[in-house]
């Protein structure tokens, strides 16, 4: 968390994403595998992240591939867990337990915000 502001400054001028941020609704999909530890960790991390950053304007849909294996093809899922940001566009994919918040921010294109 300490290093974040430094990087943020460097990245901000490059990305003119400011105008579409306010009041954006976030639609996220979390692909998990049953109740594996990685899946549970990922869900907890995502939930926590969204609560702090996107409170009130996000929706997480958890998809259990054990129950719906056919859904893996659509979003090109290979790794578990995977978060797919459906909205706002463009679609973004983050794989892993989301324990690395810095990378998660990069993945969700949120580094310049907040």
């Amino acid at each position: 968390m300490k290093t974040k502001p430094v990087k943020k400054r460097a990245a901000a001028p490059r990305k003119p994403v400011q105008p579409r941020k306010p009041a954006q609704f976030w639609q996220l999909r979390l692909y998990v595998m049953d109740k594996s530890s990685k899946s549970i960790t990922a869900f907890a991390n995502l939930k926590e992240f969204c609560e702090t950053r996107l409170k009130g304007r996000y929706h997480i849909k958890v998809i259990d591939l054990l129950k719906h294996p056919q859904l893996a093809k659509g979003d090109q899922i290979l790794a578990i867990p995977t978060v797919v940001r459906q909205l706002p566009r463009p679609v973004r994919t983050i794989i892993g337990t989301l324990s690395d918040t810095e990378n998660l921010l990069v993945g969700l294109d949120l580094r310049s915000s907040v």
């Binding site: 290979l78 578990i80 679609v91």
Partner: protein, 586 residues
Amino acid sequence: MKNNGSKSISTKKLLPKCPTGIQGLDEITGGGLPRGRPTLVCGGAGCGKTLLGAEFLVRGAAEFGEPGVLMAFEETEKELKANVSSLGFDLEGLVRRKKIVIDYVHIERSEVQESGEYDLEGLFVRLGHAIDSIGAKRVVLDTLEVLFASLPNEAILRSELRRLFRWLKGRGVTAVITAERGRESLTRHGLEEYVSDCVILLDHRVTDQIATRHLRVVKYRGALHGTNEFPFLIGEEGISVLPITSLSLNHKVSAERIATGIPRLDAMLGGRGFFRGSSILLTGTPGTGKTIISCNFAQAAALRGERVLFFSFEESPDQIIRNMQSIGLRLEPLVKRGLLRFHSARPSLYGLEMHLATMFKEIATFKPHVVIIDPITSLMGSGSDSESKGMVTRLIDYLKAGQVTSLFTSLTEGGHALQQSEAAMSSLMDSWLLLQDYEGNGERNRVLYVLKARGMAHSNQIREFLISDHGVDLVDAYIGPSGVLTGSARAAQGALEKAALLTSQQEAARRKRELERKREAIERQISVLRSDYESETMELRRIDEQVGTSALMLTTERTASGILRQADAKEVARTHSRSRNGKKKS
């Protein structure tokens, strides 16, 4: 997915094989890829890895009733379908009939962000779902190594790949994993470390401006396999590997004999021609009539109702038909009846393997009884010696296995070294006829020998080979103290002999007549002598009778005078006459 790992295949003892259906590959591997195990196929770009995988699936689904999953990491479903359909595979139809599932896995590094730990359970789920949806028995992963480029964390990837191969084995599917050839190792990312059951290496290299693909089974755990490098082709019907050494010498043989179309030649070959299914080599210098003998053989076979396939590498079919017309062979009706088929191609058109493959294809579709290759030498020129010999071996084996009689003509560069030049090929042949020019008396004549004919008594004599407008004939060449005489010299010698014979015949007749005359003279003498003798005998008898008569007359006179003298003389006269009568009777 975890519970799937416990399912293991029980039939490991015999190492069951999964036939690929790819021409030649099953022969090399002794039946196919190891069933229920992954096989690694590696090779550089453009080697045909994807195609091999696709053919494995398509043939599995279409010919062996084993549905398959193709997980493509490089090409999309649409691209794949288009690519393989150009090779005659109906991938689209198989997908529609739910025999094959294609799953295109696409992962772009720039679009994916890593955050924390993960595994590739998603890949397993997708693969598992695809397998379950059609009950797949075969899986192809093409090219898994793309993942190394897409996923930054190699440590995770490696451990997951290890898990993937174990998982595939656990599912009992026969898998083909393609991988890019590495600089120093078999694969760029060391996949061979995970797949240890069977490794096939593909290679594409150019020698003498002719590009040839090669296939080698580097490793096949628990099974015998051909270890050599085998040329393979990607033709109109997919891959065909040409194993040269995999065929063993155990084909069935026929004792049936087939006529050559030249009666005298049949007579030279023990009276009944060649064995069915044997291989015949016909060598000769230019213009000695190789094609003519071939066409005679073809015509004879076709007239018996057999199918003949004529591969011509020097003349076009029309030209052969026209030329043969001039010696009274009418091939056109046979072509029209579908008994004779010509296949003409320039030897330099493509490489040796491609020629061989096209020939195999023609043979497989036409199913001939007799195959003629005219000439084999021009074909052999398009490859190296060992390749050519291998190819001829392969061709002969293939033909013999199908009991097809094969006739190869071979062009030799004049001179007498021709036996040597053909030594490499002749040992593969069952019969060998040699046509030669014989020069002398200002003319060239053709002669023919039977150099060898396995399994039959054959003439060891030279025959003069005559070509006239009503066909071919063989005549005895004159062999005498002055050497072999052919052509007009033979005719002259024949005339000379005829004259000598006539003279001796006349002499004999004269002697016979003389003898006859002598006999007649003797007989005449004999008859003269006999008549002399007979006349003398007659004379003697007449004298004898005269003597008797005079004696009787004497007695009679005496009796008459006795009567005149005294009566008792009667008795004496009576006894006298009786005794004379009795004497006469006897």
